[in-house]
Symmetry: C2
Subunit: 170 residues, 2 copies
Amino acid sequence: MPSLLRSSGRSESSAAAQSLRARGLRLTRPRRLILDAVQASTAHPSASAVYRQVRRRLPRVSLATVYRNLRFLAAEGLLRERAGASGLRFDGNTRPHDHFTCVRCGRIYDVPGGGAGGGVRARLAATTGFEVLDHRIEFFGRCGECRRRARRSLTTRQRRSHGRAKPQGQ
Amino acid sequence: MPSLLRSSGRSESSAAAQSLRARGLRLTRPRRLILDAVQASTAHPSASAVYRQVRRRLPRVSLATVYRNLRFLAAEGLLRERAGASGLRFDGNTRPHDHFTCVRCGRIYDVPGGGAGGGVRARLAATTGFEVLDHRIEFFGRCGECRRRARRSLTTRQRRSHGRAKPQGQ
DNA sequence: CGCTAAACGAGAATCATTACTAATTGAGTA
DNA sequence: TACTCAATTAGTAATGATTCTCGTTTAGCG
């Protein structure tokens, strides 16, 4: 059949695609969708979350393809990989920033950061003889939403004279 | 058989043991050996590294026991759990400190830290409405040993007019 | 078109971690 | 010292995430 309505028209013309092409690499449709899924999310998705998302548009995509490309895209610097208590996560925000993890709901928030980073890093470089190439700062605590929820249930508890509230995992 | 040569004499008298005992918990021999293994190491061992170590003195110990107790001891505050690119690691140093991971050899070093921490934390608490309970700072780069190694091979390379050095994983 | 390397999909294989269960052990008490 | 009960264990099965393999498809280029 002729090329009517071909979902992936001719080769990508985005900057990313061109940069890859120059090295004999391709920004295929699965790859593009995986990148989009991560970049569109602020939730620092896991590999399987990305898989679920990409599947909506490309139902036959394989989980292996998702893993393979998350790695690939991270190596190309188009996204960032980060390991934490909740396993591997991916971050479409490649600008320097810090993270805040809510210990109650498990959500990971981006926080402006960067500012203090330089100082922290300089301090270490001066102290040790190590060559510091990068650093990461993570905060743990309770996000605004969970603080409110906790306050509310605390009030309820006091009113009803009940036991302690049960925290829920992510 | 009667109790000749019982490897674990009478109950532990360490502060940790007593604190646990007060709550009906025990610092058993496997548990004690697991704690010792982590505390004796500066290498931030993985669960299986601890397993290998404990096995030397207690060959019949089970891997499940090691995992169970690493968790238990972390919950009791006797050691710290940390997740990173190289999976779950355990840290016998419960004082606040930061970490430096060498991207070449994979070793994780403790770095004094703490000092700058407070400021970093205060900044975030002020910026967002989040309640910050804890934070973690990690540095990445090349440790002294690896820098020396790199310099040496660089020299060699120059002498022989070769291509770029191949970094080796951890 | 036809070629070649890049990339894919499917499923097997691997690895770390957790769950389960019957047996053992420790600490207090009769 | 023996008894009892809950805590803890060893061993092993189950789970879940990630990686590997391999036969097939596809993009880009002559």
